[in-house]
Amino acid sequence: MKKTLRGNAAKFSRRTFIVGSAAAGGGLALGFNLPSGFDPALAQSADGGAEVNAWVFVKPDDTCVIRIARSEMGQGTITGLAQLVAEELECDWKKVQVERVTPGQNLARKRAWGEMSTGGSRGIRTSHDYVRRGGAAARTMLLQAAADEWKVPVSELTVADGVITHAASARSLSYGKLAAAAAKVEAPDPKTIRLKDPKDWKIAGKPLKRLDTADKLDGSKIFGIDVRLPGMLCAVIKDCPVFGGKVASYDEAKIAGRPGVRKVVKVKDTAVAVVADTWWRAKAALEALPILWDEGANASVSSATIAERMKEGLAAEVTNGDRRNGDALKAIETAAKKVEAVYSTPFLAHATMEPMNATVRVSANKAEAWVPTQNAEASLAALSEASGVPLAQCEVYRTDLGGGFGRRGGTQDFVHKAVAIAKEFPGLPIKLIWSREEDQAHDFYRPMSQCRLAAGLDANGNLVGLHVRICGQSINATLNPAGIVNGKDRRQLQGLWEEPDNAQLGYTVPNLLIEYVMRNTHVPVGPWRGVNTNQNAGKDPLDFRRALMSKHPRHLAVLNAAAEKADWGKPLPPGVHHGIAQFMNQGSTSAAVAEVSVSDRGQVKVHRMVVALDCGYVVNPDQVAAQIEGTVAYGLTATLYGECRVRDGRMVDLNFDSYPIMRLAEMPKVEAVLVPSGDAWGGVGEPSISVVAPAVLNAIHAATGKPVRQLPLKNVKLV
């Protein structure tokens, strides 16, 4: 397999042409640096081979090029989607290559590849049906081409590994020989396509190696930040540190004559950019440039003042969305025992390893962007809007992402800003890279929030009433105001919904009231990998949950799977304690059991996390496990360290020294337990992140006897 991977990678090697070398000229390395496996022009029949349909191009050497519309940011979607197409195509997996569709091509072909947006763990779960149909249709056409060639009925043919055989006449032909004829066969009526039963899968469902590993091991993979084009200049940007503030003035004369600097550009009214021949020269010049800001009305806002507003919201009369059954307030009031607690979470940055960037070239009648994006169609729209060039004359070349986590989706602020700078240099490509500090200072943050939970228990400790009130900022208010209907914002109660298909609360409570109170701030917010929750209980945490879950078998099965694998209830080493949690979001249920110890000095050590996931169907078990491992790391960083503090209206944690990320030494042993129910298709990249913090906090509660109700843990004195 290793050999195959390397073979594939060699075929779609990057296009690097060094036309002038540093050794010779003493200056810059010039030339192209474009991403591997990426060709803005899709494979064409003129290059040999043929496009059987939008999803499948077959080369004469039997290589099957599978087109991928979703963005790869590490989650393995390229491999998973290719497995699904290849499964129905019945091709030879060893001869599979992938090609990334551009949004311009998708637009020109009336969205033949469907939606390109890659967020909300939707890459596979919302496209599995049509990509498999694409593979199946191509197989049908290839079979028909063979039948026509041999003048025999299709029913007498068999196909395996990209070779069609007519046993009766002992003839066989490979896909590469049939593709040109197949391309002329009429596509089958979609109603006649029968997809395979997943029980019969041979390629999908298997732990195959990723298709995109080789060039990540030798430095040859080209991310957006690595793009290099002829004549390209580099830009660095600084936006007003206080959100909503503006540029008052800057003194360009102070950086006149600095090496390589071409221009200072005011970007919209809020930012200043320096453009130079190298990024480092631009950055050094920007740091030397005196800028005066008009910080506006928000310069006195801090985390503390925002927290006060949220506290007020917890008692507010008007709410912005609710879910209710029975009379929770009365049930709690009259219960034998009443429990009340307030929880709080801070703003979080996405902190993708690859800082935000985009390379843009704007000419009179054409605009192009090379950009790591979770939503290439949104990038295309942003490019057209910002450049004024009609959509049909714009194109976006999507590079794979050095992390996304929700940051590179809907906002497209990086495209807008890069275009604004590039318009000052018609015809020249401008690569805008944000410094880490700028990336941390101008994110769309996971909202800060508070939650008050009140519960009534009867004399036997059974939950009779539950009132959950969440106060926080609305993501829709920042990014999608249309999502707020009549002042109600349902999105903020994700995971607590009654509807079963996506993000349903897994508990049945006789008297339930869940409310959302919107308190927006001047800090922009956006989606952040997963949905975060905290659920503590009384009794034995597992039994307590089970008692509430009999009407939610999918949630319960996952909880039980995690508990069983983790040996819940059995003795642990001295000082080690269990915590458990379950949740549903992005169409999947997940549960985690954490094994945690707390030292005499209050140091938390997470030893082991058992995480169970029901994502309906598993396309690649090894990659699902990898995503679960990733959610544990991302969730633990948030639990232990994650906090973006606001002071004087601005973010103060601007790099990894004050915004620490969990390191290898702190990584617990992660055991993924996959329990696909064969029910609806669910997401993988995000769901299990939601159970990491609550499982760990519940284990800390067990270890110390004290509940933890605010994050991150670095601010909490445990002993």
Partner: protein, 153 residues
């Protein structure tokens, strides 16, 4: 003007002496496998070998690098991806997004050069690079696998 020995080649580059080695490698020399992550030696995405020691190139001024210092970047670790660390990384499918992996691989290669059979504690102490995708469990497994591979050959 600085003279650098990178991956066995002598390169004369034009850069201000206070330019970080990282940016000279990426922009003047044109080797982009070495990544920018933080600029303050926190994340390790910029890790290279200088005289066989792993170093964070974002925090080394090019003016402080001697012409005799042997710099090796990810592109120079092996000619064909055959370094035991690269092979182990492939066998275990370590990378997710891949952005930090050049630095992780360089850190692991330096560790194994110094400590051919590292313990878990050795790995904890040496592998301090940040990965946001959370590939740490596989990194640990792959370092052990590469150590076994190295000790056999």
């Amino acid at each position: 003007m600085a003279r650098l020995n990178i991956n066995g080649s002598i390169r004369d580059v034009e850069a201000e002496p206070d330019t970080p080695l990282l940016w000279v490698i990426r922009e003047q020399v044109g080797l982009t496998g070495t990544k920018y992550g933080c600029g303050i030696a926190q994340c390790g995405a910029c890790s290279v070998h200088i005289n066989d020691e792993v170093q964070r190139s974002c925090s080394i001024r090019v003016g402080d690098v001697k012409a005799t210092d042997r710099i090796v970047t990810i592109e120079g670790l092996s000619s064909n991806g055959s370094h035991p660390v690269q092979k182990a990384w492939a066998a275990i499918d370590v990378p997710q997004c891949g952005y930090c992996q050049s630095g992780q691989i360089m850190a692991a290669a330096a560790l194994l050069k110094r400590t051919p059979r590292p313990t878990n504690q050795d790995i904890d102490e040496a592998m301090t690079n940040i990965c946001r995708c959370g590939t740490y469990q596989r990194i640990r497994a792959a370092v052990h696998m590469a150590a076994n591979d190295t000790s056999r050959t």
